[in-house]
């Protein structure tokens, strides 16, 4: 009986975690971002495993606090948040739905095939990144380092808008 109750709760926990917005990009949740890796009950303690997007991302601390706050709101007080490095976070974990949410929000989503993209050591501007405003692929990389660790700054040569591109890692 207890086990059945706990099994329900794990999916419930995933649901509530899926309601916590990313602190920087509020249109997607921590689950959609791929930061939450596992949810488990260990006896009476809830263990949540998360992985950092970028090792120095200042939002990680914020995400942990948001998770803590949300769990307490549900009356869950006995929990532990573990930080896991392996496997390393990758933008490949984002679903197409998540990517389309990013685009609607004005951020060009990461392109697929991360491994090929990040491997080049000499100038390798992302190609055919569509402008989230006008969909033109006539775009130009301004800087691989943008407003947050996870974004590059690009510019559309057609509508002339500068935009963020969620870079592949």
């Amino acid at each position: 009986m207890v086990k059945i109750l706990q099994a329900k709760e794990v999916s419930f926990i995933w649901d509530i975690l899926n309601e916590i917005p990313d602190p920087e990009i509020p249109v997607i949740s921590l689950v959609e971002l791929g930061v939450v890796r596992a949810v488990n009950w260990v006896d009476t303690q809830l263990e949540i495993t998360i992985t950092p997007t970028y090792s120095g991302c200042p939002a990680m601390r914020m995400m942990e606090m948001d998770i803590e706050q949300r769990l307490r709101k549900e009356g869950i007080t006995d929990f532990k948040i573990n930080m896991q490095y392996h496997p390393a976070w990758t933008t490949d974990w984002m679903s197409d739905l998540t990517k389309s949410k990013l685009k609607t929000y004005g951020i060009a989503p990461p392109q697929a095939h991360t491994k090929q993209r990040i491997g080049a050591l000499i100038s390798d501007a992302p190609t055919e990144v569509a402008c989230p405003q006008c969909n033109s692929v006539n775009t130009k990389l301004i800087s691989e380092f943008g407003s947050t660790a996870c974004k590059s700054l690009m510019k559309c040569n057609d509508c002339l808008e500068a935009f963020d591109y969620f870079k592949c890692i």
Partner: protein, 252 residues
């Protein structure tokens, strides 16, 4: 030295390089040549300090003295820091800063790539995370080397001077003491000799594209890995540790 103690020292060497270079680069925040570059340098500084943070958490656990990552960063004195001399060199002009980044980024890229194969699973996992970021760093500094070297006579001259002044710190990157070689034998530490060829050929390729010549006849300096630093590290630490020393135990 027992193996836990040598592992602790080894993690510190990796972490201290990342931290000190990250701090140096963070000093450039708001002083970049233009806004996008300013943001890039701050982002890279953040990546480096973040990677150091993961390593210090692990180092503290290995040391087993109930210390935190903050203790290791803010409460150690100069001689206890094991970073290479290259990363503590103070910022001068932008060409110098990019040259320092480029030399370290190239080393770090091949180092992290090799460290992913470590028998130590935590080090391997942190390296697998770090390498993704290191790739962006190396592309960034490599592009600047080409742009500055192949730019105006002024930028070329400044970059040439930077390489001349920083080249003496290159060999230290590959130095390994007996304790570290012991970790190499156990499959934990990276055999730096195994990445030296890749390092040299990438540096040569980029420098050639940039129209730069590799400096010759330079007397090599070392000491950082043993805790014997240039005078610059003390000043850096004094600033970096000042808040924590004024308000012991402060958290932010």
């Amino acid at each position: 030295m027992n193996s836990q103690a040598s592992l602790f020292q080894y993690i510190l060497k990796i972490a201290d390089n990342q931290l000190i270079l990250g701090h140096r680069l963070s000093e450039q925040c708001s002083k970049g040549p233009f806004l996008e570059e300013d943001i890039a340098c701050s982002n890279i500084a953040l990546d480096l300090i973040g990677a150091a943070n993961s390593l210090y958490i692990y180092a503290a656990a290995i040391e087993g003295e109930n210390k935190t990552e903050d203790d290791l960063v803010f409460l150690r004195s100069e001689r206890a820091f094991k970073n290479v001399l290259l990363v503590e060199q103070p910022n001068t002009d932008f060409a110098y800063i990019m040259c320092r980044q480029f030399l370290f980024d190239t080393y770090d890229y091949f180092f992290q790539q090799a460290l992913q194969k470590s028998n130590d699973q935590t080090l391997a996992a942190i390296a697998a995370k770090t390498i993704k970021e290191s790739t962006y760093h190396l592309r960034h500094s490599g592009n600047w080397i080409i742009r500055l070297g192949d730019g105006t006579p002024e930028s070329n001259l400044r970059l040439k001077n930077a390489f001349t002044n920083l080249w003496c710190y290159v060999d230290e990157l590959f130095e390994q003491d007996a304790a570290e070689l012991d970790l190499v034998a156990q499959g934990i530490a990276v055999d730096t000799q195994s990445i030296k060829t890749q390092f040299t050929s990438h540096i040569a390729e980029i420098m050639q594209t940039a129209g730069m010549e590799i400096p010759s006849g330079i007397f090599m300096q070392s000491g950082g890995k043993k805790g014997v630093h240039t005078e610059h590290l003390g000043f850096l630490l004094a600033e970096m540790q000042s808040v924590h020393r004024s308000f012991p135990g402060v958290k932010w």
